[in-house]
């Protein structure tokens, strides 16, 4: 089911939504960086960049497509089921729902809409975060490209700030990693939005399903640690 977009377009709303200070709980999550640091796979700005590149092209691509699809008005329950199928790790599914619930709280305060209320009613324990993100963008009058950009950027921005804390990495070097990834991020967004538009007609199987085995396996290991800095 596809519904028409709501509020009129506001580009500045994108800045509000994409701001790292947007209070949606992301600061307590490392996107797998804490597990990768502990395993010795991320040790520097260079290895952080490869980690982020891998995330961007796998879970980042999937999240961007889910967000774009939600922004286009595809049924959030269908998208949530598609997100479940693309997230084998139960720890990552729980994280995605927790972050989705936290984002929804912020979204309803910022851009109240009947669609967000309906999502909260249908998923009291949270829908997958990218689905909520797409519907939030929609309620803010943003389009699928904006939603996909937010999701793709979050997929690398979160691990980067987390790694600055975990490794005491030079923040300038870390931020330069994000800047270098920007062209790839744009390309991922373009492909994700195209897939989301196909999904409007062909169903959610048209959405990408790219996976990072070590992200899933690492998340399960991390969830079992007795002591950790980040929630995921």
């Amino acid at each position: 089911m596809v519904r028409a977009a709501g509020a009129p377009m506001s580009r500045a709303a994108l800045l509000v939504l994409a701001d790292g200070r947007f209070p949606a709980g992301g600061h307590a999550h490392s996107g797998g960086a804490e597990a990768a640091v502990k395993a010795g796979r991320v040790t520097s700005a260079a290895t952080l960049e490869e980690f982020c590149r891998g995330r961007l092209h796998t879970v980042g691509r999937v999240a961007a497509a889910l967000a774009a699809a939600a922004a286009l008005g595809i049924d959030p329950a269908e998208l949530d089921a598609a997100a479940d199928a693309r997230t084998p790790s139960p720890a990552l599914r729980a994280t995605a729902r927790r972050l989705g619930r936290q984002l929804l709280r912020a979204a309803r305060a910022c851009w109240p809409s009947p669609e967000l209320d309906a999502l909260a009613a249908a998923f009291p324990k949270g829908a997958h975060q990218p689905v909520v993100l797409g519907l939030t963008a929609r309620s803010a009058g943003l389009g699928p490209e904006d939603a996909a950009h937010c999701a793709a950027y979050e997929s690398v921005g979160g691990p980067t700030t987390a790694t600055v804390r975990l490794l005491s990495l030079d923040p300038f070097e870390a931020t330069a990693v994000l800047a270098r990834l920007a062209p790839e991020l744009d390309a991922v967004v373009e492909a994700a939005v195209a897939a989301a538009r196909r999904a409007v007609l062909d169903g959610t199987d048209a959405l990408p399903a790219a996976s990072g085995p070590l992200l899933e396996i690492g998340a399960e290991g991390h969830a079992a640690w007795p002591v950790r800095l980040f929630a995921s």
Binding site: G32, A36, A39, R41, V42, T47, E50, F51, C52, R53, G54, R55, L56, H57, T58, R61, A81, A82, D84, A85, R86, T87, P88, S89, P90, A91, R93, E184, T204, D205, P208, A209, A210, S211, G212, P213, L214, L215, E216, I217, E220, G221, A223, A224
Partner: protein
């Protein structure tokens, strides 16, 4: 590079039998899509309506001759009624150059407590053979009559397991994705369908992505709410000491029509960036998944746990558990997946 050289992968059985030697991917020109070849392949399709072991009588080698018939238009194939099942070229366009081959397996109860195979067909490089089963299950081995798929090939396997039937499918050797003379992607499409009360164990040997190859694997599985499935897939990135080819493999599983699992892995030259980095494979050269779908998991989900450092057992959002693993080589990958299979019974 003949298939005989392909054995340089630790712990992997690689087919060298029969026709493999003639599939010289880097050597002589390919002979593909000749009328004769298609005719032979079609002739190979063996259909039986009994539960007795049935082997296609003339599972044929692809033409070994280096002679080519390059410009046969697709329309002539259509006119002759021999267009391959998966050919997609529009009428009037040049025919795709790779081999089209398909295998089909249907399993149903034989009425005597066992499982019959009313459809057991293969063609060209895909040859299913019924072997001695155990208990009430039928067992089929896919025999790699050739070493493909080569670039441009398009293989398809379809399996249907009816209610009350139990089918165990394996393969005698690893599948090698090889570069083809004509270049281009090869496709390997697998469709598995398990009805209520049916059980499929799909446990083929590894897929080895040889340097220079380009293969797209799509596995689509439909399991009815009361169906049971054990599925293993393992990808090995290159033979020992060799860089891998391009491989992308997508596994899509639905249970009762609802998405259960949708995972794609892309690796090798030209794959999206970061595939060998710390988020995806981190230098591991073997990656695999073991999926178990059972109605009982709906009531009693498995508990997530690590299996060593590089594998995890994960209950899915449905009546299933997935073991996902990476390893340095095929042997270690198989060890961890075997351990998981034993654990889950």
């Amino acid at each position: 590079m003949g298939a005989g050289e392909a054995g340089r992968v630790a712990g992997v059985r690689v087919a060298t039998g029969g026709a493999a030697g003639v599939r010289a991917g880097d050597g002589g020109a390919e002979a593909e899509g000749t009328d004769a070849g298609v005719a032979q392949a079609e002739g190979a399709a063996g259909i039986t309506d009994t539960g007795t072991p049935s082997v296609p009588t003339t599972v044929s080698d692809r033409p070994a001759s280096p002679a080519t018939v390059p410009d046969r238009p697709a329309s002539s194939a259509t006119a002759s009624g021999r267009q391959a099942p998966h050919a997609t070229a529009p009428t009037g366009a040049p025919a795709p150059t790779g081999v089209r081959a398909r295998a089909r397996l249907h399993a149903r109860p034989d009425g005597r407590g066992g499982t019959a195979l009313p459809v057991l067909e293969g063609e060209g490089p895909l040859a299913p053979r019924r072997t001695r089963g155990s208990g009430d299950a039928a067992r089929v081995m896919l025999v790699g009559a050739m070493s493909g798929p080569l670039g441009g090939d398009r293989f398809g396997v379809e399996v249907h397991v009816a209610g009350g039937a139990r089918l165990h499918v394996g393969s005698v050797a690893a599948t090698l994705a090889l570069p083809g003379q004509s270049g281009g992607e090869a496709h390997y499409d697998v469709r598995l369908d398990v009805a209520d009360g049916g059980e499929l164990r799909w446990l083929p040997e590894q897929l080895i992505s040889v340097c220079g190859s380009d293969l797209r694997v799509a596995t689509r599985v439909e399991v009815a709410p009361g169906g049971r499935l054990v599925l293993r897939e393992e990808q090995v990135l290159g033979r020992t000491g060799e860089s891998p080819g391009r491989l992308s493999s997508r596994l899509t599983v639905r249970v009762g029509g609802r998405p259960l699992l949708d995972q794609e892995l892309a690796c090798g030259p030209g794959a999206p960036g970061g595939w060998d980095g710390p988020a995806v494979l981190a230098g591991h050269r073997a990656v695999g998944q073991l999926l178990l779908v059972r109605p009982e998991f709906a009531e009693h989900p498995a508990t997530a746990r690590m299996l060593g450092e590089c594998a995890a057992l994960m209950p899915l959002a449905g009546p299933a558990v997935l073991v996902s693993a990476v390893a340095t080589d095929a042997l270690r990958l198989r060890e961890v997946l075997d351990e998981a299979l034993a654990l889950l019974g």
